[in-house]
Symmetry: C2
Subunit: 427 residues, 2 copies
Amino acid sequence: MKFIHVSIITIGDELLIGQVTDTNSAWMAQALNQAGIAVSRRVAVGDDRESILKAVDEEMAAADIVLVTGGLGPTADDITKPLLCEYFGGRLVLDEGVLTHVKYLFDNVYRRPMSARNETQALVPDTCTVLHNAEGTAPGMWFEKNGRILVSMPGVPFEMKALMRTTVIPRLRERYMLPAIAHRTLLTAGIGESDLADRIQLFETALPAHIKLAYLPHYGMVRLRLSASGFDEAALAAEMDQQFAALQQQVADVLVTTRDESMQEAVARLLLEQNASMGTAESCTGGYIAHLITSMPGSSRYYKGSVVSYANEVKTGLLQVSPETLRLYGAVSEETVRQMAQGVLDHLHTDYALATSGIMGPDGGTPEKPVGTVWIAAGSRAGISTIRLKLRFDRARNIELAAFNALNFLRKCISEQSFSPTANSRA
Amino acid sequence: MKFIHVSIITIGDELLIGQVTDTNSAWMAQALNQAGIAVSRRVAVGDDRESILKAVDEEMAAADIVLVTGGLGPTADDITKPLLCEYFGGRLVLDEGVLTHVKYLFDNVYRRPMSARNETQALVPDTCTVLHNAEGTAPGMWFEKNGRILVSMPGVPFEMKALMRTTVIPRLRERYMLPAIAHRTLLTAGIGESDLADRIQLFETALPAHIKLAYLPHYGMVRLRLSASGFDEAALAAEMDQQFAALQQQVADVLVTTRDESMQEAVARLLLEQNASMGTAESCTGGYIAHLITSMPGSSRYYKGSVVSYANEVKTGLLQVSPETLRLYGAVSEETVRQMAQGVLDHLHTDYALATSGIMGPDGGTPEKPVGTVWIAAGSRAGISTIRLKLRFDRARNIELAAFNALNFLRKCISEQSFSPTANSRA
C-alpha cells in the first residue's frame, strides 16, 4: 500500500500579515479526507517570487500531489502564473475556451465591460491542462512533472471549492488507487480534556495501531475522533463501528452527538423529529445563537426568530420582562432570563424557548456579577429551567461559549424533557 | 539592514483533516507585524513525529525565529515536547514553578482534582527557558541553537495570545534591532478588484520599490493596503502618509474607511459621533448583523437590539408589518423591508433602523425572486431608503455579503443623510 503525500500551498501576503484567516486550507483538507486523500503538510507563503519558488520546489520534492491556491487574480501583485510557467517549462498562450468564458461572465453575470487586464486571465502555460473554473475568471491549471502533480487554483473560496469538487478530486481519485479513509466522531460536553483522557485511557491503549484517537477541543466541549485508512473498505468500516460503539459506552453520560454534526445541527434534528418550533431571546449572545441556527439551510421549518434585547427597554417592550424584575435583580439574573424565555413562548408562539443574559467583557463586571457571568433559560409549555455559567475568556470566546452552552442546555432539556415547572437554579 | 525571517509552525492532525480552521497563525502574523516582525512562511503539520521533525529542521535552517504552536496538551496524542527535548539536546526535568502554577489553576480556577497526567505539564527540557503561561497548564519554551530561536507555545488560542503579548514579542523586540513596519489600509465598496486596479494603475506604477500595494477582497468589497519597512520610523511614516493621501484621492467616491477598521466599526464610529442609536430587523441575515455589532465591546452604547423575524408571524407580531403587505408583495419585497425598518423605529425607539429580507439559498427561489434576491431598508425619522441586491453565492457567503452590504448602505445613508421621505428603489 503506497501512501500518497499531499501538500497544500496557499499564496498571499495577506496570509502572512494576518489580515485574512486561511479558511481554504481547512476546507480543502476536509474535502480531500472525505475522498480518501490524506494531507501531509500545509505551507503558506507571501506574494514573493523567491518564497513561492522555494515552496513549490520543496513540496514537489516531498509530495506526490501539490495543491496551490491564490496568486491568480487580475491585479498586479500576482506573480504565480508566470512562475509556474517557467517552473514547468513552456510559454504562456491564449486559451480560447477561457477567453470565451471570461467574456461570458462579464457580459452575462457581472454585466460590466471587460478590461484588458481581465483578458490576461486567458493566458495559460502551454504545458498545463486547463481546468474550467465555472465560478470565476482565473482557470485552474494541472501540471505534471516526474510523475508528480501540481494543481494551481484561484484563492477565492467559492471558485476553489467548485474546482475541487467538480474537477480536481474526481481526477485525483481516477488517477490513484486510493485507500478508504474512515473517521468516527463524537462530541462531548461538560468534561475537560484531561479528565476525558483519564476516563478512556484503557480504551485508548487497547486500540490497534492503525486506528488513531484524537481529542479536539471545541468551544469548551471536546470532540473525539477515531481515524483509520485501509483498502478493504467494508472490513475497515466494521472494525471502526465496533471501536466507536465501545467508545460511546465510555462517554454515554457526557455525549452530545455521535454524528459528525454541530451542536446546532443536533438541536435542529431533535426539533424536526418532534415537529416542534423554537425561538430565542438573546442579550449577551447578541444574535449569535440566531446566526448559528439560521446559517443552516431549511432552518425556517423550526426556527421562528429571536429578540436580541440588548437594551433593557427592548426586554420590557418586546419580551414583557417586568421593569420591577429588572430593578430588583438586574438584567443579568435568573429572574430576568426566565421572563425572557417566557416572553419568547408568549410572543413568538414557539414550542421551545432559549434565553441568555450575561456580562461578556471586557467591561461591565461587578464584584457580585463578574465578567463571564451568564444566565441561560430553556423553556417549554411545561416549564422553564435555568443554568448559570462562569466564563473566564475574552469577549469573542465568551460569546461563543455562552451560545454553545445555551444550545446544549436546550438540547438536554428537550431530550430529557427536564423543563422545570417551578423556579430552580443549577449553578 | 538585516531582514529577519520568521516561520510559524502549527501542529495538529485536526489542521490536516480540516476539522479546525487555523486562526492562530493569522493572529500571530498580525501581532508580529504590528511589532515590526515580518512572517516569511507558515507551515502546518500533523501530530506525527517525522513530520514535526522535518518541519522543525527545515524551518530552523531557513528562518531566524521559529514559532511553534500546538502539540502540548495533556492528552496522549501529543509528542512535541519530547521531540523538542531531543532536538535541542538535554533531558526532561520537573520545573517547580510550573508545577506550582498547575496546582494553583486546579485548586483555584478549575476547582477540580489535578490528575497525574496534568503533572507531566511541569516536565520541561533542561535546555530551554520556561515562559510562564498565566492562562493554562502548558508552559511556553524558548530554545536557542546556532544563533536561531525556537519558541514552543500551546495551541489553545487565548493561552498562546497571552504568551505572545506578554512574553514572546517583548523578548524578540529586545533581542533584535527591529525595523519599523508601516501599513496603511483603506476599504472600498461598490467597485470590483480589476476596475479598481485599472483606476489606480498610474499610482501603483509610480510607487517607490520599497512600498508594496496589495488588493484584499473582503466580503464583496476590496481593501487596499500599502506596506513598507525601514529603520527611520519618522521618515517612513511621513512617506507613507503622503502616498496614502494620494491613494485616497483616487478612490474617494468608493471609500468606506481609511482606518484599519471593519465595516461595523465604521458604522459604530458614526453613531457615537452623533450620539445616536440603532436597531435592526433581520430576516435573511438571521441575526448576523446583530452579532457583528454586539461582538464589539461597548456596543450597548448605540445598539438597542434586533428582531430576527424569521417567521412571518414575527414580522406582523413584533414589527407590525401589515399582513396585507405580506400577502400582496411577499416577505422578500421592498414594501415589507420598509415596514420592518419602520417597526424598528417605532418599537425599538431608535434613531436609525436597518432591515433585511431575502432568499439566501440553496432553496426557496422563484423565477421572479431567484436565490440571492435581498431587499435592504435603512431608516431614520427623516424617511426610509431601500436597495436591492442580487447575490450569486452559497448560503454562508450570501448571508455575509447581505450583512456587510446592509451595514454599508446604512453607513452611507447616515453620512450623507440620504434617507428618503417617500418610497424609492435603487436596484
